[in-house]
Symmetry: C2
Subunit: 378 residues, 2 copies
């Protein structure tokens, strides 16, 4: 008997370039086993009790040290609140900071599953355009005369799906606007540590007066099955999360797993693992973009990724990627249609491809299959 | 340096009879270590990947077997949806099944931290009276002519805080009313497996047409730090949970921990542990109630618990337990004031005491300290 264990359930002959997940072959089972042994041999059962609402103090301390090194800027242990992953953080932000009917600003395109969480909370989403430097700040300023958003959701670095990084100047402008117009910036910074080269500091570094909530996660840098992440922000901004009903009732959000990941950090196992991931992902990104240039340069354009997981393909306006899906599936390849990433049902000529999941050979084969279908249609 | 790890932070000379948690000295560190080793040695990294939205199929299978035995009625694997604990389940139910301003029925008294979760979601709570058989069904029927609740929240077995168990006849009546008036029953059944003797089947067993959502958890029968639980219900009722935005984005709610607890179940380590807990808790309950009879029989009444964690003390109407708290703390003892468990600011002469956390000697000493203060006031 075979039962479903993981979220993905891809037929064996299918190459699903749309999937946005870490490589299953790289999941660090040995590393987690070593950390679990280390933690569970200490004779300290506190990770089995209801946890401190903000998260285990020793775990937060180890995380603050890791982020200080990884971000290249000091991260204060009191500015970290432990979550059960970025999605849960976003869900809790929706519960505590907004109510049905409230406006949320997002990028166009935006992470499509965040849009689904906003919909579950009855929030009204307004999409803002992006260009090569990320979110278009002048359009944002204009929209702020029309709407009063509860928050703006952004992926500032190695954007999902566009791979773009918001420029330093725009980061400053965005934060200044959030202060002037009194809205939160929910910065989904889960790709921040997955740059191929040096990058800008995370958006939280530009926070002046507590308008930024920075969401981080171990899903992309260690393992998604852990359901472990954090929100970084000023203590008075974190306070409503730490004291909310969910935390008061259940205690800290993931004490057992954070206890084990504390050992991952204290044994200094994570830096080496992330370095390895970056090398692998850089090679895979190069393989994917090389294949795209070879097979699809006539029909699609894209920005070269500098990190993260994704390539965002733009076909000519005559192509509707969603409509091509049945044929793509017949050719044993899938992508994520751009329309899913639009707040307004647009971006139909676009597609998200992920270079993290498959090795270079399968990425190239996937692109060949994609090109075969698209070229037939052009 | 000492950092906060657990939710509770009780001064060393304080006996906090109000705390509602499993005994820290009984937390099964060895058992969890054995299970973690077993699972992480299998060479199967699937528990590190994004998990199946409903929960790992093998974990659900093992859980269904365990519950079938524990409940004494068949539990179907397809009727189980894995959560990150009862509080998170309740939070998700509020997000997906209700909107701010909606009415929720609760028992009076009700679990006070559930009330906080409802408040975070902007729900309006109406408390219904209970008697020795649990929820008063005739008052419920009456209130249903006045209100249309989205759901009724109940702890049907070994109630928190009252320790009462809803009678079989009332379980049938309650389910019939939920069908007639079209509301969900959210049954918090986390104490179901902690009876000192045989008890009624859980409320979910009385479900006819999918009006019951039964919340279960490993917090009371294994370890709260795991943040692992489940919702049991008919598949079409679970469907909106399995397909919601939070699950679509983050995958199953706790794959890593449920992978390890799968080994707890498959190695058959849980039944013996729960048996041990029941023996310990029965002895502690006897010690607590014996001390109460000895020291407080003149000033307070209570129902003898048959399971669960709690004793619900009712003092004479002239005593306001909340107002006594500063003096109790001076005498190094605390209780949970009854007013916290009221939807309407009532129950001021009541207090919740927990017999799970402390051993018999400390429970007796706590009651002596409590009696000293209360007797002075009577």
């Amino acid at each position: 008997m075979s039962l479903q264990t993981t979220q993905t359930n891809i037929p064996s002959n299918m190459i699903d370039l749309g999937i946005g997940q870490p490589s299953p072959t790289l999941l660090p089972l040995d590393l987690m086993q070593r950390a679990a042994n280390h933690r569970l041999q200490q004779g300290d059962p506190s990770l089995l009790a209801y946890g401190a609402e903000q998260g285990d103090g020793y775990f937060r301390l180890a995380l603050a040290k890791f982020l200080t090194q990884g971000y290249g800027i000091p991260v204060d242990v009191d500015h970290l609140f432990v979550t059960s992953g970025a999605s849960q953080a976003l869900d809790l932000i929706c519960t505590l900071c907004a109510k049905p009917g409230d406006i949320v600003f997002v990028e166009e395109p935006s992470y499509f599953l965040a849009l689904r969480i906003f919909a579950d909370h009855g929030l009204r989403v307004v999409g803002l355009p992006v260009d090569a430097e990320g979110l278009d700040i002048s359009v944002l300023a204009e929209k702020l005369t029309e709407y009063q958003p509860k928050f703006l959701y952004t992926v500032p670095t190695y954007h999902n799906p566009s791979s773009l990084t918001l420029s330093a100047e725009r980061r400053r402008q965005l934060v200044a606007l959030s202060e002037k117009h009194d809205f939160f910036i929910v910065a989904d910074e889960v790709y921040q540590l997955l740059g191929f080269d040096a990058t800008l500091p995370p958006l939280i570094n530009y926070d002046q007066s507590g308008t930024v909530l920075s969401i981080g996660s171990f899903s992309k840098i260690l393992a998604p099955g852990l359901r472990l992440g954090w929100i970084q922000g000023q203590p008075r901004v974190l306070e409503p999360f730490i004291t909310c009903g969910l935390l008061d009732s259940g205690g800290g959000l993931n004490p057992f797993t954070s206890g084990i990941v504390r050992s991952v950090l204290e044994l200094d196992l994570l830096n080496e693992y992330v370095s390895k991931l970056k090398t692998v992902y850089r090679d895979r990104s190069a393989a994917l973009t090389s294949a795209l240039r070879q097979h699809l340069s006539e029909t699609a354009v894209f920005d070269e990724p500098n990190g993260g997981f994704f390539v965002w393909l733009k076909f000519s306006e005559t192509i509707d990627v969603g409509a091509l899906l049945p044929e793509l599936i017949q050719h044993h390849v899938r992508v994520q249609p751009g329309v899913k990433f639009s707040a307004h049902g647009d971006l139909r000529n676009c597609a998200r491809l992920c270079f993290a999941y498959y090795d270079s050979e399968l990425l190239e084969e996937g692109v060949k299959r994609l090109a075969q279908v698209v070229t037939d249609r052009s």
